[in-house]
Symmetry: C2
Subunit: 527 residues, 2 copies
């Protein structure tokens, strides 16, 4: 990591002067490494001094920039292609029109108070910037149940409760390890005392019973629940190791809740995920122009000129923050360096798909309150609603297809007609909840690849996957003169609102340093 | 189990006639085994026919009986020793007086809307009877965060996040098992194909990196979080196996969320756990006599006579449902059989203790939203509030001492003065949240062993621990003529509201059968 950072700084040093290195260091976070649980981000009050900045895109990154820069005294204008703000934070309610390229339009038929979070749908507690905005802006939040031991997994024609899969795996792994320890296979690693401690530990960890055999007594669920008087409960028989190893599709559901950004507890704004974006938008609404797609990004003197719709217009500004997804940005005429243009090319975006149905909350009658079901059917992931418990209706997300189980599922599901997706979802729900699929009503579906002004939800280019990312990514971070860049794709929390907010904060630090730098006399800049 | 049931039936058959066997079968659930996820319990409408039943105790079991029997046309009277209903469901709010035997009285100083659930505090989704009452009675519920990977464990002077402990254990166990598999130690159990599948599985399950070494990349948390631009995040270094094995106290926190009744998601009524009891109470409030402790339980003809306070009174009835905790019941003069009196003797009750402080919600600033912290200090378990997220204040349960970590803690903590408990809690919170213990205000504490009309929270007699319970337990289920028994201690879900409700349902089935039986001519009873 040190080398990469140094390399980046050296390159900037060659290309510009001292000030470029300074900006580079700021951009790299070397001057202001934010602590894990920081004070809320804030620019120095009045630091904008009326300088004009045009922000491209009113998703979370753009809205965070607009909100913070406006507060700091910048003259802000935001250009947004859609007729709404919030970008990939898209909460669909009754009456909303859903436009998809190459598919018939849908008008959402949900009843009052029901919604589908078609994009962002959860907030982990580690995302303290997004939670911080919810808190500061007075957006009520509620727990979003992301882990549910009662939700089922439907793989290879066999349906089991998550609690059985998770605990049977732990049990069988512990059982095998206990055998190996007893056979002396780990005497290199374990002293006699360690062995005894390990066997005792495994006994509790893996519910190991007599003879070293995994013997679940409740963790994996019951065939008959414990009850009153003499109903002692019949714990389920455990699955065999071969059943577990044969189920390759289980690995993601087994570990999903241990992915750092998916760990319990999770949260959601009461009433829909777009409430946070709305709260950021409200104070700057007068500064946001909707239906204003960017047609070209030009340098003009020390500043920028943005050509945009509706019609043929342009907006001039001293600075620009560009938050457009890189897949779209790469197609917009610009004056960027050839290195930037090269780095933007051919970055594919994940084509995830969701389907939501309004329904009576039959799943709660069966003891499933929120959480996720999983399946090897192309709908992959079912999300039970975590709002308005025990109310008559809810929106069941019957598909969140993103390659969780098979990376081919997302493009395959995208390619289907709406009716094909609905049929697959109904069949899947019928397997998970026999007799209930007929209660699914008023479906709506969003394929992000077919969604104008998005065409996907985030970068799936290999350069985004290594622990420290190679040159293409760092090239995209580099300002183009007065144009700085933000968006979830310019963070190590990609796909998340938090990443968008974090990148926005970094971009604003660069912007602030640039503005300071431009105001400084040349002697000071060289010091 | 079959033998035990048969033995019980045979004993009943010897003691009584055919009808006693019938009642026994009903009591044993052999006639009406309730399905796991049943229709809500209900007695046939009008089946009470105005018969009079006196219910002893207005905890959940007594309230469920009163609510259901009143609906079914019984003439119900409930006798309750306390000046409130709900028993061990005790929600303490500002202004409430907390009386403890041998300790100074406390008056709770909490602000508006704040409460401590001193007793029952969570509802798992498997408890469909309690959730069912919440739903039917219109009691709003919200998620109670019981699992939180960000909450900390403070053992042996070392504080780690739950996510590190849980994932490092999985990683080290997987690493060891991988070595054993590679060494051929499990060739008896695993074919060549299984071995390869197992190694691949363990790689993902345990985050196994190069050379078969556990290499956490985020599940266990970060020293520096992933951020915007170039902040790639620094995953925490994993703990050594010896650190894990040395920490015996970890075993309960490691597996707590896998205990069947503690599995995510959990729920709580909005506003305090007593809301459900209140909702059961409201329709029968006129039938409940508070401050009416039972002084004696007598048979009188075919019916019962209950002597009780205040003063010297008695209430006669056709039937009685006795829901008193067996530790208290054993001291009340009665006409029970000698077998019953013998079975009731010397059943100790768990002396658990809670402490709650009002406080600014500093834990949310640190990213801890709900969930449980654990410690080897005598306060054992900390519960962060799951209500009113982001509001200024909350009630932090700084101690839930019940022998989770060391069975001596509960009696030791009980024996302390209130101030000693508060001091231990403040020190524990200071270790978990340095600099914050000074924000803890207005403490209140409840030791259940010192709480009049409870003297503990549930039976810890060894007869309650086996999968199927021996004679003492089944003796306690046996009706004494027109007196039938209920309470959490007469269920396989002891300590829980659900167990109280389930036992109440069983008791009402027996009562209904008895009433039917008494109305039948002798010839029909013999058929």
């Amino acid at each position: 990591m040190g080398l990469t950072r140094r390399g980046f700084l050296e390159r900037l040093g060659l290309a510009g002067g001292t000030s470029a290195v300074y900006l580079g260091m700021e951009a790299l976070g070397l001057l202001n490494a934010p602590p894990a649980s920081a004070e809320p981000f804030a620019l120095p009050p009045g630091s904008g001094r009326g300088r004009k900045v045009v922000i491209l895109g009113a998703g979370i990154a753009g809205l965070v920039c607009a909100y913070e820069l406006d507060k700091a005294g910048w003259d802000v204008i935001v250009l947004e292609a859609r007729d709404r703000v919030a970008g990939r934070v898209w909460t669909i309610r009754g009456g909303d029109r859903v436009v998809q390229t190459g598919r018939p339009d849908q008008v959402c038929g949900f009843g009052e108070g029901l919604y589908l979070n078609a994009g962002a749908a959860r907030i982990p507690t580690a995302h303290h910037n997004i939670l911080g905005y919810a808190k500061r802006l007075g957006v009520p939040i509620e727990a979003m149940v992301n882990s549910n031991r009662a939700a089922k997994w439907d793989f290879g024609g066999r349906t089991v409760e998550g609690r059985q899969a998770i605990n049977d795996v732990r049990g069988r792994v512990s059982e095998l390890l206990g055998k190996a320890v007893n056979r002396g296979a780990l005497d290199q690693e374990l002293s006699a005392g360690d062995k005894s401690a390990m066997l005792q530990f495994l006994g509790a960890y893996g519910e190991i019973g007599e003879g070293g055999v995994y013997t679940p007594l409740g963790r994996s669920g019951y065939d008959e629940l414990p009850g009153g008087y003499t109903q002692s409960g019949r714990p389920r028989a455990p699955m065999a190791l071969t059943d577990i190893l044969g189920n390759r599709g289980w690995i993601l559901p087994l570990l999903f809740e241990e992915i750092f950004d998916q760990q319990a507890p999770m949260f959601q704004p009461v009433g829909g995920m777009d409430r946070i974006a709305d709260a950021l938008y409200r104070p700057v609404a007068a500064r946001v122009r909707l239906n204003a797609p960017v047609a070209a990004i030009r340098r003009r003197g020390e500043g920028v000129r943005i050509e945009h719709g509706p019609g043929r217009q342009h907006t001039d500004a001293d600075y620009c923050i560009c938050t457009l997804p890189v897949n779209l940005l790469s197609r917009i005429p610009n004056d960027f360096s050839s290195a930037k243009r090269e780095a933007m090319r051919d970055i594919p975006y994940l084509p995830s798909v969701k389907v939501g149905f309004e329904s009576r909350r039959f799943w709660e009658d069966e003891g499933v309150y929120g959480g996720l079901a999983w399946t090897d059917s192309p709908n992959e992931n079912i999300i039970y609603p975590s709002d308005r418990w025990h109310s008559p209706k809810g929106v069941l997300v019957t598909a969140y297809t993103a390659g969780w189980i098979d990376q081919n599922n997302a493009p395959r599901f995208t390619a289907m007609s709406h009716e094909e997706r609905f049929r697959i979802c109904r069949e899947s729900i019928e397997r998970l909840h026999p007799g209930r699929s007929g209660e699914l009503e008023r479906p709506v579906t969003v394929a992000w690849a077919l969604t104008p002004w998005s065409e996907g939800v985030g970068p799936i280019h290999p350069d985004w996957f290594p622990p420290v990312r190679p040159g293409r990514y760092t090239e995209l971070l580099r300002p183009e003169g007065p144009i700085v860049f933000a968006g979830e794709h310019l963070s190590y929390v990609p796909f998340w609102q938090e990443g968008a907010a974090l990148s926005a904060h970094e971009a604003m630090k660069v912007l602030t340093a640039q503005a300071r730098d431009r105001a400084m006399p040349p002697s000071a800049a060289a010091a």
